[in-house]
């Protein structure tokens, strides 16, 4: 029984179900090959894309790729679908939808209006028949703004997460990277550290340390310690200064179970952190990370390709009005995204799908040393994502994460993108940089051979007189 198919010349192509059709239409990546889901040759892939283009968007509401009964993410997608907003696009096929997204009239307001009508599978489907320039152009038209102690995602801005990781969470080691980042204008999205341990005492110690730094220097930003959501709940219970609750999430109930979370736990954490009311401008207080391949690596993909699974994770994120959603695109390794080409495309797909669903998407533009990728590949993805209007990227000293053993964008990289495209940090943070004499009105760095006043008085002892 094959529901979907097309004929090219003398060759008939058949696709048994919607999940198979989506998988075969997906641009080549190693994770789908590993799962045995990828198209067997290039013509079969295009045949699937042609078939997909003729599919009405309504089909995705009628035929969930993972059954409604057995998966709470599917239930979330179906139950939260906005039928009223869907009226504007309900008559379209996937191919029409691509055309509709690209036309002049489809502007930021139009895209915001249909966001609650777009399901992850619709977004994934249309992305599979889009070129890189389409993914960039449409995403650049989306505008998703979030607020906590500053305003992230405004047009003309590119924010950064300052990621001061240290292999032993040593306070001086963390502080050194925080200082380096701040003096390079990094940290407006969040100062967010991956702790070396999940030990509650160590985690709350880091939370206090980051909070004290933010308070002492009156930095208009927020902190986050990227530990498990249940550890956050405990920390909040003990009165720790939690700005943002973090969690890694995936696109199926079983994959989330592998992360030790479900919607009920996330609901509980969201309630707890919202109640703290620590935001001054807004109360977007969740920070999620995702990445293609997480469902397959937990053997929880149910025959659904990794990019569609990834888009489904955004339905989970959307429920919690997060401040930041970060696709950690190249971290998982070459068995899921083999080389620079696959990583670049995946990063742009994730950013596009997230933005289309109305999420404040950023990207950890990254790779591991066993992937066929290098700094040139990251420069391409960085430039393209900055052009696409990504809300934020990572910032780390010299691209080298000495704790997680991978490479992501450096403080310098973010400055490159801002200089190239005339982008700024979040406005409140930009003001702070000027006030602290770190940068001038044009955004250029002004720190030369002396530390800025607020820092030099504090650091006399450790820096010493040269």
């Amino acid at each position: 029984m094959s529901q979907f198919g097309t004929t090219l010349g003398y060759q008939r192509y058949k696709f048994d179900d919607l999940a198979t059709l989506l998988a075969k239409a997906s641009p080549l990546r190693s994770g789908d090959q590993l799962a045995g889901l990828a198209a067997s040759n290039m013509q079969e892939r295009v045949a699937a894309q042609l078939t997909l283009a003729d599919l009405p968007l309504k089909t995705f509401l009628q035929q969930p790729v993972i059954p409604y009964e057995s998966d709470e993410v599917t239930r979330l997608i179906i139950d939260s679908h906005d039928a009223k907003a869907f009226a504007a696009i309900s008559h379209l096929t996937v191919g029409d939808f691509r055309n509709w997204l690209l036309q002049y009239q489809t502007d930021a307001a139009t895209l915001a209006a249909i966001a609650p009508a777009v399901t992850p599978e619709m977004a994934a489907a249309v992305s599979k028949i889009m070129r890189v320039q389409d993914l960039i152009l449409v995403a650049s038209k989306c505008n998703v703004v979030t607020k906590f102690r500053n305003t992230i995602g405004l047009n003309g801005t590119l924010s950064t997460r300052l990621q001061p990781n240290h292999p032993t969470d040593d306070p001086a080691g963390v502080a050194a990277s925080v200082l380096d980042g701040l003096l390079y204008g990094s940290g407006d999205a969040v100062i967010g550290i991956n702790p070396a341990t999940d030990n509650l005492q160590a985690v709350t110690g880091l939370m206090s340390m980051l909070d004290e730094i933010i308070q002492h220097y009156q930095i208009p930003t927020q902190s986050c310690v990227l530990t498990h959501v249940t550890t956050h709940i405990e920390a909040i219970g003990r009165g720790a200064p939690v700005d943002l609750v973090f969690q890694s999430i995936a696109g199926t109930e079983k994959a989330n179970d592998g992360f030790g979370v479900n919607l009920a736990i996330l609901d509980e954490a969201w309630d707890a952190v919202k109640g703290l009311n620590r935001g001054t401008l807004g109360n977007n207080c969740m920070y999620f990370e995702t990445g293609q391949g997480s469902a397959l690596s937990a053997n929880a993909h149910f025959g659904v390709d990794q990019q569609t699974c990834e888009a489904r994770a955004y339905a989970v994120a959307r429920r919690y009005q997060p401040l930041l959603v970060n696709t950690v695109v190249g971290f998982i390794g070459p068995e899921y995204l083999y080389d620079g080409k696959q990583i670049i495309r995946a990063g742009l797909e994730d950013h596009f799908c997230g933005k289309l669903l109305g999420l404040p998407m950023g990207c950890d533009i990254c790779y591991t040393n066993h992937a066929e990728a290098d700094q040139d590949d990251m420069d391409m993805l960085l430039t393209q994502l900055a052009a696409a209007g990504a809300n934020f990227i990572m910032g780390i000293p010299g691209s080298d994460d000495i704790m997680l053993n991978y490479q992501t964008t450096s403080f310098h990289d973010a400055r490159y993108a801002r200089q190239l495209l005339g982008l700024k940090a979040a406005p409140e943070f930009e003001q702070w940089l000027m006030k602290q004499k770190i940068a001038d009105e044009s955004g250029a760095l002004t720190v030369t051979d002396q530390l800025p006043p607020a820092f030099s008085s504090q650091l006399t002892d450790v820096i010493g007189g040269d």
Binding site: A172, D180, N369, I402, L459
Partner: protein, 268 residues
């Protein structure tokens, strides 16, 4: 080479490098990396990349291992080459048919089984095994012998993943299997070795049933400290008859603190 200060803006917080290996205070030209910092990064990446693709000299390893006076088996996974190994972790976990037979043939000869089997594979860094496997075993094996534990032949597996040890341990009827494996190379640590311990290994053992020591390398966990911690885990595993998340490493390891958070007044 060094960058001329007239062109490069150096950062006045270079002294903070004593607190971290992170690449802080790199200086800048405009907003960009100065030439020297840029090329230093390229060199570090080249080292890490070469570590991933450098084939391990198994003949040399065999010579190194021969000093331990144990039988040595040379085996291979089903990952036929490096590209296959990197893309198909499932194949790296399986022994080739020939290797399966070789292990089975050997265990035919010894019906009673062993306390411990030791497997060695290059994993993602041959450099890690080249530098760290023999020094670790030189300390570990005498300590195991002193405990009167029976040791299975040393098994070298070309292109193996951690779980490849399960089939070997099962076939050799080992109570506990250790696998020494080259870890994913970091930019500043291309030669880091990990050791995984699995009690009662069987094909299909969940990863949550293993214990792991990682970052064994010069400048990381020394082979002395690794041996101490491994012996603790081995003793515990054999007496409690399990490994995994329920077996916590409770050995005291000195945590050297580099300093306080200097960004705040010291009253904090």
């Amino acid at each position: 080479m060094s960058d001329k200060p007239a062109i490069v803006q150096h950062n006045p917080w270079q002294k903070l490098r004593r607190y971290t290996d992170a690449r802080i205070a790199l200086g800048r030209v405009g907003d960009s990396l100065p030439t020297q910092a840029h090329l230093e990064f390229q060199l570090a990446h080249a080292k890490a990349r070469d570590a991933v693709h450098l084939p391990l000299d198994y003949e040399l390893l065999q010579q190194q291992l021969s000093v331990f006076r144990l039988p040595i088996l040379t085996l291979e996974s089903q990952a036929s080459d490096r590209a296959c190994y990197l893309q198909r972790p499932d194949l790296g976990r399986l022994l080739s048919e020939q290797s399966l037979k070789a292990v089975a043939d050997f265990s035919e000869g010894s019906k009673q089984g062993y306390d411990i089997a030791i497997v060695i594979t290059e994993g993602l860094s041959s450099l890690a095994i080249d530098k760290n496997a023999s020094p670790l075993l030189a300390q570990l094996l005498p300590a195991l012998a002193a405990r009167q534990l029976s040791i299975a032949p040393l098994c070298m597996v070309k292109q193996g993943r951690v779980a490849v040890a399960d089939a070997i341990g099962e076939s050799l009827q080992a109570k506990l299997v250790l696998i020494l494996v080259g870890e994913r190379p970091g930019l500043s640590s291309p030669d880091s070795m990990g050791v995984y311990l699995t009690y009662q290994p069987q094909v299909g053992t969940a990863d949550s049933k293993r214990n792991c020591l990682s970052n064994i390398r010069e400048g990381g966990l020394s082979s002395e400290d690794a041996t101490t911690r491994l012996l603790y885990l081995i003793d515990q595993a054999l007496s409690r008859a399990y490994t995994g998340v329920d077996l916590k490493d409770e050995t005291e390891v000195e945590q050297h603190r580099l300093g306080q958070n200097f960004l705040l007044p010291s009253s904090n």
